[in-house]
């Protein structure tokens, strides 16, 4: 079998953030290829480059063996590539046929389009009523429409971005079945996903991206789940043994605690079930888990950003929180640092705001956390990603000395900046020392600073004790895949 699509040594940066750093992915014709990676690993960026939505800064792209350089999706479509985006690109007010006709040129021949949709329906099994309004279609049918749209453009290589995220389990199983048949019939599909189960159920080949690099690429038959998880979250050997547990006064009551806490989201899905967690002053509790295992909710419950559905949360009035998406959730890039400092306490402030005091406090955060910035009046946007994050860490520590919760704090940072940010987060400070909760999708990162580690799997939380050999990570990866 020849290669259908090959991306080699692809690099791509967005401003200061490096999304792809020499990523490669070779897709054989007639196969389903799973592209795995945690949030922000670069999966979607890589495939958007293959689909011509983005251009690569470096590296090469081959389609059916021919070297190409796309400047728009139109060119990719002409080469037989189709992409189904995670968020559907449909016009709800229009009919199925009209949505298919969009993007064409010249006159619209309604009958011809309807006939084409019907013939694709019989060939591929993706049946749709051409006259149905898209807004009335269930999500599964909307996704079928997205695929049909690609097939009407004679796509021979289909890229699906997290296609099962919006589907019910039954619809997802149907889609996986369809993909298998599509590939067996000679089609080629790339499945972007973070769900191991999807990858293992349907893929022939698996490529794993981590931090913008390809860390694993192999036939599915040669892989097991634990190996893929290690690739997803990092399996470089630890250079130093795990730090000695810094637990002072375990007898004192915990600073943060969840007592039998469950959380059900707005869609009725139980995200966290009967979780029990304690965090004491002076320790760093590491939280690990594959995407969607419940750690997101766990962190927000501890930080007081979510209310539990049942159970009890014990926490100080204010808990410092470092959300994953700092540019949108933690900072207002256009405003000066002083106002970004005030931002964190804006909800609680009363009366007048003393700017001189706020400026002085901003200066002290800049100094204490070693933020490289001109001064308190510089807009946050002008700082580098690492310095922005150090500022956020310093700010949260200053406001809420007792407890700090951090979610993927090194995302999008280069290694040096990441190391500095981790150092800031884990640095013991205050009296009594801060209780820190750290989650990262990078296992190494968590293990390098945590005193204890809890693992989220499918909504349950349990502590995994340090193994006798501190460089051994199988207990953690097994807990993350539920195989222990």
């Amino acid at each position: 079998m020849g290669e259908a699509l090959a991306l080699e040594g692809i690099g791509r940066a967005f401003g200061r953030t490096i999304a792809l750093d020499g990523a490669s992915c070779v897709v054989r014709a007639g196969t389903v290829h799973a592209l795995l990676g945690e949030n922000g690993a670069g999966k979607t960026t890589l495939m958007r480059i293959a689909f011509g939505m983005l251009t690569a800064d470096s590296g090469s792209l081959r389609v059916q063996g021919a070297e190409v350089r796309f400047t728009s999706s139109r060119e990719a479509i002409a080469r037989g590539i189709g992409m189904v985006h995670q968020h559907f690109m449909l016009v709800p007010a229009m009919t199925v046929a009209e949505n298919v006709a969009l993007g064409g040129r010249g006159r619209v021949d309604r009958d011809a389009i309807a006939a084409r949709i019907r013939s694709i329906g019989t060939e591929s099994g993706l049946t749709l009523d051409p006259d149905a309004a898209v807004a009335q279609l269930p999500v599964g049918a909307q996704q079928r429409l997205e695929i049909v749209k690609a097939l009407t453009h004679d796509a021979r290589i289909l890229i699906l971005d997290e296609p099962t995220a919006v589907l019910s389990p039954k619809e997802a199983a149907e889609l996986m079945g369809w993909l298998r048949r599509y590939a067996d019939g000679g089609g080629t599909a790339v499945l972007i996903t973070h769900k191991l189960r999807d990858a293992f159920s349907v893929a022939d080949d698996i490529t794993v991206l981590r931090r913008g690099r390809t860390v694993l690429s192999a036939l599915r038959a040669e892989l097991d789940e634990a190996r893929v998880v290690r690739a997803l979250i990092g399996d470089a050997p630890l250079t130093s043994p795990a730090p000695a547990t810094r637990i002072f006064g375990m007898t004192a009551p915990p600073v943060l605690a969840l007592r039998c806490v469950s959380y059900v989201d707005a869609r009725g899905v139980t995200r966290l079930r009967d979780a029990n967690v304690e965090v004491h002053a002076g320790e760093v509790l590491g939280v690990v888990g594959v995407e969607g295992a419940g750690q997101r909710e766990l962190l927000r419950l501890l930080a007081g950003r979510l209310k539990p559905t049942s159970g009890r949360v014990e926490r100080p009035d204010s808990v410092g929180f470092i959300p994953e998406d700092r540019l949108h959730d933690a900072l207002i890039p256009a405003l000066p640092l002083t106002e970004n400092l005030l931002l964190a306490e804006a909800g609680r402030l009363r009366g007048l705001v003393d700017h001189a005091v706020a400026q002085a406090r901003t200066r002290s955060v800049i100094e204490a956390s070693d933020v490289r910035a001109e001064g308190p009046d510089t807009p946050a946007a002008s700082l580098s990603g690492g310095n922005q994050q150090k500022f956020v860490v310093g700010r949260e520590r200053q406001l809420a000395g007792a407890a700090l919760v951090a979610e993927n704090p090194t995302r999008g940072l280069d290694l040096r900046a990441a190391a500095r940010v981790l150092e800031e987060i884990a640095r013991p400070s205050g009296e009594p020392a801060t209780a820190v909760v750290l989650h990262s999708s990078d296992l190494d990162e968590v293990l390098s600073v945590a005193s204890r580690v809890v693992v989220c799997f499918n909504g349950t939380v349990r502590e995994v004790p340090w193994p006798v050999d501190p460089t051994d990570r199988t207990p953690f990866t097994r807990a993350m895949t539920g195989t222990s």
């Binding site: 929180f321 949108h328 933690a330 405003l335 106002e339 964190a344 804006a346 001109e374 580098s384």
Partner: protein
Amino acid sequence: MTDALLALWDGAFGSSYAVWSATLVRATPLLLVGLAVALAFRAGVLNIGAEGQLIVGAIAATVMALAFDGLPRVLMVPAMAIAGALAGASWAGIAAWLRRRFGVLEVISTIMLNFVALALVSWVVRGPLQEPSRIYPQSPTFGEAARWPFLISGQRLHLGFALGIVLAIASWFWLARTASGLRVRLVGASARAAESAGGVDVARTTFVVFLASGALAGLGGAAEVGGVTWALYEGLSPGYGYTAIAVALLARLDPRCVVASAILFGALDAGAAAMQRDAGVPAVIVQVFVAAVVLAVLAGTQLQSAARARTATVRAEEL
């Protein structure tokens, strides 16, 4: 050409009458309504309905003036101002509630409410508030007590202007120095960050600002009937609510600058009338000029902030 510009200047600033009885009088509603727009925009509330809020404010002040005819002036003037502000706030409150409850875009709801307000004023001046002879579509002329005091004897500049200056300073102080003003600015800059990092109640903040904005616009309407026309009629506002958007944007949404911006627009308005009369140049030319100025200022602001971001980035890299 020079004739036209000289006429424009004379009409706006050429005499004490031009300054105190034309320019600043015309600037008064623009000042109050410009503040209303600036405040709303600072919180990210796109209140395009200041025109409607101004009209209902004028109606409410008229009702107050006519219904409580016997009140002494010291009570009547504040009562009219309060009635106007409350009516404007309520009118804005409809759109604010629709946004909060159903997520209706305020751009659409406020502009629609403008037309409702226009229809409302057409009805009241032909119905419940029509003058006793029932000939003209306007209210009876207010009694002495309901006419707002002049600031300078012999000139038409009235209390509304002083009120506008005080409120401009108060608005600036609120935004720049108080905690709730800080919340307003943060919500306007990034509602998402204000909510997630600061725990700011975004829905509540925008609701309050929306009402405050409506109150200022309504007060502008009350000041216009109480200080200038002394009666309610249909064409009361030649689109002050829309011009106020330009006033606010030209001031870059800074309440202090709204004062200067409103005076500039008032001067252009006063001067345009004089220019048409004395030099035969159509007053519309001034509107073309005004639109060009606003576009230039907005483009300039964009370019400037882009340049500032670039230099700041370079400096950060050097550090």
